[in-house]
């Protein structure tokens, strides 16, 4: 994850400082091809910043601007398709890029309460998973550097805990699913795996059971009533006198 907020604002925290350099170096410009149209943009821009610098208002494929939206690009003299996240990938001279507007897919619809945390669930909800040919294209496509193919293999073995662990940092950009020759929807299998783990494979907290019961039994009603009746001054006194763990 990272941001792209440079130059977006005339930040008020800027101050004149002595860095040993006399002047800020002049911004160098590079030419990139944005969805088919060449544009001159600063060389330190992210892909998202470059699209906006060219005058476009992004509507599809932008959100938190901290690294969740996929982009694809090619570089001069390089046959490969590269993948990245638009707000964390820097532009390069001659880069030809497309921001991914959406990833078409059919999410499995299910009732979590009726599932079991095992391979049968994967088979029933995402049978296409078992078409995996272990080519590793998904892993190569992942802009988060996750071992996507490995977690698909975990799913095929019904190892839900490992599926959860290996896909923990998935941001759901869907580039794996777009590149997969077997047409698997890896990132949706990952969400299913995480929900199965949280619902069925977690360790139970007895402390939490007790606390929920205490609230239900109205054990805090008295303390709440007392605190809520205090004036500002008395409340402030209580607050600053409280001990800290």
């Amino acid at each position: 994850m990272s941001g792209d907020q440079q130059n977006e604002t005339d930040d008020k925290n800027k101050v004149v400082i002595d860095t040993g350099e006399s002047e800020q170096p002049q911004t160098r410009m590079v030419t990139v091809v944005i969805m088919g149209k060449p544009a001159l943009v600063p060389d330190d821009a992210t892909i998202m910043r470059a699209i906006e610098y060219s005058g476009q208002q992004i509507i599809r494929g932008a959100g938190c601007r901290e690294g969740f939206c996929g982009t694809i690009y090619r570089l001069p003299g390089d046959y490969r398709i590269h993948t990245g996240l638009a707000c964390t990938t820097l532009v390069q001279e001659g880069m030809a890029l497309s921001q991914i507007p959406s990833v078409p897919l059919e999410k499995a619809v299910y009732d979590l309460e009726k599932l079991t945390p095992d391979v049968d669930t994967i088979k029933a909800l995402y049978p296409v998973t078992f078409r995996c040919v272990a080519c590793g294209t998904c892993t190569k496509a992942c802009p988060q550097g996750l071992q996507v193919m490995d977690y698909i293999q975990s799913a095929m073995r019904g190892d839900i805990a490992e599926l959860m662990e290996l896909s923990y940092e998935c941001v759901g950009c869907g580039l794996c699913a777009l590149r997969c020759p077997s047409e698997i929807i890896q990132h949706k299998v990952a969400i299913l795996g995480k929900r199965l783990y949280g619902r069925y494979l977690r360790k139970e907290s007895k402390e939490l059971d007790i606390r929920i019961q205490q609230v239900k039994n109205h054990e805090y009603d008295g303390e709440y009533a007392e605190l809520m009746s205090l004036g500002r001054e008395a409340l402030s006194e209580r607050y600053y006198a409280r001990d800290t763990e």
């Binding site: 994850m1 990272s2 941001g3 792209d4 907020q5 440079q6 977006e8 604002t9 930040d11 008020k12 925290n13 800027k14 101050v15 004149v16 400082i17 860095t19 992210t46 910043r49 610098y53 005058g55 208002q57 992004i58 509507i59 959100g63 938190c64 601007r65 901290e66 690294g67 969740f68 820097l90 619809v109 299910y110 979590l112 988060q144 959860m164 923990y168 940092e169 969400i191 995480k194 929900r195 949280g198 977690r202 360790k203 139970e204 907290s205 007895k206 402390e207 939490l208 007790i210 606390r211 929920i212 609230v215 805090y220 605190l227 809520m228 500002r232 409340l235 402030s236 607050y239 763990e245």
Partner: protein, 577 residues
């Protein structure tokens, strides 16, 4: 990789680390926490809300005469996107009918829908971008909930109301803190994977202003984990919940009895204005960071432009605490590409310390956010001049993260902060071995549309939950209470609004309030060419924007966005501001 000019200061941080580690291992605070007078002093001199021009009087609407954050006053003293006269046909023949319209598809909105269907109501979610495109998705560090034996919901209450400077509405703080434990359980039943100890109890950490360790977490991806779970659950009910993406609401509708009766949606692709008739309307539009208040960089989502405030205000809803803004103490300032990026408060919860250019502590690391931010601004100000400068002209202080592994054991940082590590690894900085450079970043809308514990407003049929609401956090929210807020009040609003929808009888749809509001602006002599909600910020260079605005006659496409950040040149005749 840090550049050479920062090496001297980095060495000083290394030199003071062992001394500071000893302090951290003792049972005393590493630096004396401020008392009430010291807090007041640093806030009044250094918090951005206290700077000149930060607030201005609003001349129209329910809060008329009150001081609000200047950018909010500007946003509210602005014109509607639609001409009510041209909407008559739509009002007579709505494009959509629903029992419950939920405006905003973030955490609170998804909860509202999930809860409503359990009560037999079929809601519609209308959202600006994609479902889950929200600040909810971006939270990192944790959620407060009093789940340990040494803690209690009432202690959580005291921490939250003290952090908010005792301005919070008591009944809202009670709802927030009392529902916390149950929310933890409900989320794990939906499949959220909390960080747990060996025995199954929840792992808890401190946050700023907490007197007990109360922060439950999902490593540093709590937002992504919860939001994706809630979205997935919404998408598991395609026949009960209808989702309209890329269709933000831009005005509310009232009926001839003054009840809220739906909204006008704006299709971002086709630029149609569509009418939704709804028995009840829920605003869960989140906050306003993308308005870049006081020119600050922000940690917020692309769509966080305060739309709900605008719509509700024009319809007559009262705003609370819209004179205060939260700046997160620790936004990244180096490297330049990630300026503004949120460094989770959990870093300080796990033992990270803010230190100045000499590597010295200057503030208790876990003061409430406004106090911590003001102290960092003071350290960098000309009064102290102890900040570290970057070549891009920014100034900040170090956040010493290598302490975390030293306190908690090797490997802790990489396991607990995968998102933070990744963000800095991209630029050759290993936060396990080197500190981060930080400065406060625009983070949260403390106030909002006033609600009660049933999420009701002063307009019948209009309900609010999450960051768009006002009263829960007073004038300063503590870490982990916003994640709790959207979960607690998202659940509550779904229940309350769906119950309301069962009995209400709607009258004739109307946009007369929009016409009346415009009339009030004219009678006050307000001459603004701003149009709100602005929907999205525009980061188009100003010269390009001026070329786009040259078109005469009809209003250019996405006009509100073009106006959103052009600065003074689009706001003529402001009178006294």
């Amino acid at each position: 990789m840090y550049p050479d000019y920062l090496k001297d200061s980095l060495e000083k941080v290394d030199q003071t680390r062992s001394k500071r580690l000893e302090l951290a291992k003792s049972d005393k605070p590493v630096y004396p926490p401020m008392n009430a007078e010291e807090r007041e002093d640093v806030l009044s001199k250094f918090h951005p809300d206290s700077t000149s021009g930060a607030r201005s009087h609003i001349r129209v609407g329910p809060n008329k005469g009150e001081q609000l954050t200047t950018e909010i006053t500007d946003l509210l003293e602005a014109h509607s996107m639609v001409d009510p006269k041209r909407m008559d046909a739509g009002l007579a023949n709505p494009d959509y009918e629903t029992d419950m319209l939920i405006i905003g598809g973030g955490g609170a909105g998804c909860w509202a829908a999930i809860t409503a269907i359990k009560n037999g109501i079929k809601p519609m979610i209308a959202t600006k971008l994609r479902l889950g495109d929200a600040n909810s998705m971006m939270s990192e560090g944790g959620m407060q909930a009093a789940v340990t034996p040494q803690d209690s919901p009432t202690r959580h209450y005291l921490d939250a109301i003290g952090g908010g400077h005792f301005d919070n509405k008591p009944e809202l703080v009670r709802a927030l803190t009392e529902d916390g434990p149950e929310v933890v359980r409900e989320l794990e039943n939906l499949g959220v994977m909390w960080d747990k100890m060996e025995d199954g109890s929840l792992q808890v950490l401190h946050g700023g202003g907490t007197s007990r360790k109360r922060m439950v977490s999902c490593r540093d991806y709590i937002g992504a984990i919860i939001m994706r779970t809630l979205m997935d659950e919404v998408e598991n009910h395609p026949h009960e919940i209808s989702v309209r993406e890329f269709e933000p609401a831009i005005e509310l509708l009232l009926d001839d009895k003054g009840q809220c009766a739906g909204a006008v949606l704006y299709n971002l692709d086709t630029e149609q204005f569509l009418v939704v008739r709804a028995k009840t309307t829920v605003i869960t539009t989140g906050g306003f960071g993308r308005l870049h208040i006081r020119g600050f960089a922000t940690t917020n989502h692309y769509g966080a432009t305060g739309d709900g405030l605008v719509m509700a205000y024009r319809a007559g809803a009262y705003l609370k605490f819209m004179d205060s803004v939260q700046y997160h103490p620790t936004g990244a300032i180096y490297p330049e590409q990630i300026a503004g990026f949120l460094i989770t408060e959990k870093i300080r919860g796990a033992g990270g310390q803010p230190v100045n250019k000499d590597g010295e502590l200057f503030v208790f690391p876990r003061e409430p956010r406004d106090v911590e931010s003001a102290a960092i601004i003071r350290e960098c100000s000309s009064e102290r001049n102890m900040g570290v400068g970057t070549a891009s002209g920014r100034s900040g202080v170090w956040l010493d993260s290598p302490l975390i592994d030293m306190i908690n054991g090797e490997g802790y940082t990489r396991h607990q902060f995968p998102g933070m590590c990744r963000a800095f690894d991209n630029y050759g900085i290993d936060i396990v071995k080197q500190p981060m450079l930080i400065y406060p970043s625009l983070h949260y809308q403390n106030g909002g549309i006033e609600i009660n514990e049933r999420c009701e407003t002063n307009i019948p049929g209009l309900f609010i939950a999450g960051e768009a609401s006002g009263g829960v956090h007073g004038r300063n929210r503590l870490m982990g209470n916003s994640v709790l807020d959207y979960n607690v009040f998202g659940r509550r609003v779904g229940k309350q609004a769906s119950e309301y929808a069962k009995s209400v009888k709607l009258g004739k749809l109307s946009l007369e309030h929009v016409t009346a509001y415009d009339g009030e602006m004219i009678s006050q002599g307000i001459d603004s060419d701003l149009i709100s909600p602005v929907i999205l910020p525009s980061y188009t260079p100003e010269d390009v924007k001026l070329q786009q605005l040259a078109r005469l006659g009809n209003i250019p496409a996405r006009h509100s966005m073009l106006r959103s950040r052009i600065g003074c040149s689009c706001n003529k005749g402001k009178g006294d501001k």
